[in-house]
Symmetry: C2
Subunit: 256 residues, 2 copies
């Protein structure tokens, strides 16, 4: 690839979130950037797509003087519209984020940020999702931009496979206090739900989903372990959900 | 387990869809059934959860004289509310479906049906998603009910592991023409997007997401292959998204 690469950028916090601007700023050094992102926050959207409602896509000025495309749908919709309608040629790389909040362990499954990247991987386009372990929209992303640069540099050097998907989680530390980079596995764990039950002015119950992360994995090669130790975690992911060991084990089952 | 098992049932087509009634009818023979399902269609919701809006859950009469709980959220929300609020003890098994339409190959990622089951598996509860390869709400589910019975019988006999997740796809055939049952892997493939672009009465463009499935996998042990040959496909799934081969391959990368 000798031409300037085209880099498609999306996210799940919406086109005006600080995270995407920081990602754009770091990625511009590596190629021509096209921004297609949701017009509103889409956190927790998992790999949702818009089946029953039509989508809108409109040009939108974003705060650093650049123009992007806002989509009235999910992160996965954004990538589908970008590759299916907007771009004449598939982009060379898809980036998503920088998410305001961690996407380690099972949050990978609920994450809208990662679903944009996963949609790219399904289409055979190398894709990377970035998440900073700080939920605030005021978070300082100076270190995160530097992390993005380091990862893009090595990714272009090593050449990512067509369907490669990386999930990068960045500890909430200044760059000089980040210990380094680790290639990790997704930690097993779960969110333990604690619903906040309330009663509306009309006497009807409703529930806010809250919850605490319950660690179920003490291995030292996980995303959770790396982050807790002050490392950037890079988890290569697949979208093949087959449980191969179970598949072998079940071959003798008799359903007839 | 000597007591009557508790079976939680959800879906993504909504609590009044014919599919869930058929699933309930088949599952009742195996335990005490509790129904918690979305109050509206949630197709394509992937593993979405409701982060920014509160949830409602209300008792609802369903058409076969049974009572269920309707939830104003996603399939994953339903399972979270059922285990976190409604049930005192975790259910012994979670079933989702019967979906009106196939959930083979990459549709596993977009599927709301499977996300309800996957949410169960994350919580350590064995879970099975059922999908019939017929999108019509008028589809004849006589054979599907029989398939559910066969699979539940063997699943109880073999004892599913705590985090087991099975995705069952049923060919659209009468039971006596179904060739048998196959334990399969998820076929690789993708949807090729063909957006239907229209213009609204105000002159603004909008897009309907449509698409064709593009097969990228000729192996004979896939869900797609089994279905095309007239077999019920049973794919054991994991929610560990780590790409382990990539993980080994990338250990020498240098991001510093």
């Amino acid at each position: 690839m000798n031409q300037t690469p085209t880099i498609l950028i999306s996210n799940d916090d919406g086109i005006h979130a600080p995270g995407i601007l920081n990602l754009v700023e770091a990625a511009r050094e590596f190629g021509d950037v096209v921004i297609v992102a949701p017009d509103s926050a889409q956190s927790g959207m998992g790999h949702a797509i818009s089946v029953g409602k039509p989508l809108r896509m409109y040009k939108e000025e974003i705060s650093n003087g650049m123009t992007g495309y806002a989509v009235s749908g999910t992160p996965a919709d954004c990538v589908k519209l970008a590759t299916g309608v907007l771009l004449e040629k598939a982009p060379d790389l898809i980036l998503s984020g920088i998410n305001h909040g961690s996407n380690s362990s099972v949050s990978s499954l609920y994450s809208g940020t990662l679903s944009a990247a996963r949609e790219g991987a399904i289409q055979g386009i190398p894709s990377i999702g970035f998440s900073l372990c700080n939920y605030s929209h005021e978070a300082d992303m100076t270190a995160s931009r530097e992390v993005v640069r380091h990862i893009l540099r090595e990714s272009f050097r090593q050449k990512l496979n067509p369907g490669a998907l990386l999930s990068v989680n960045i500890p909430n530390l200044p760059f000089d206090r980040i210990k380094g980079f680790r290639v990790t596995r997704m930690a097993m764990g779960r969110w333990v739900e604690e619903f906040d039950q309330r009663v509306d002015p009309y006497g009807q119950k409703y529930y806010w989903l809250t919850g605490k992360y319950a660690r179920q994995d003490d291995r030292e090669d996980t995303d959770e372990f790396a982050l807790a130790a002050g490392y950037v975690s890079i988890t290569p992911m697949t979208h093949d959900l087959t449980a191969y060991e179970e598949m072998s084990r079940m071959q003798h089952w008799s359903f007839d």
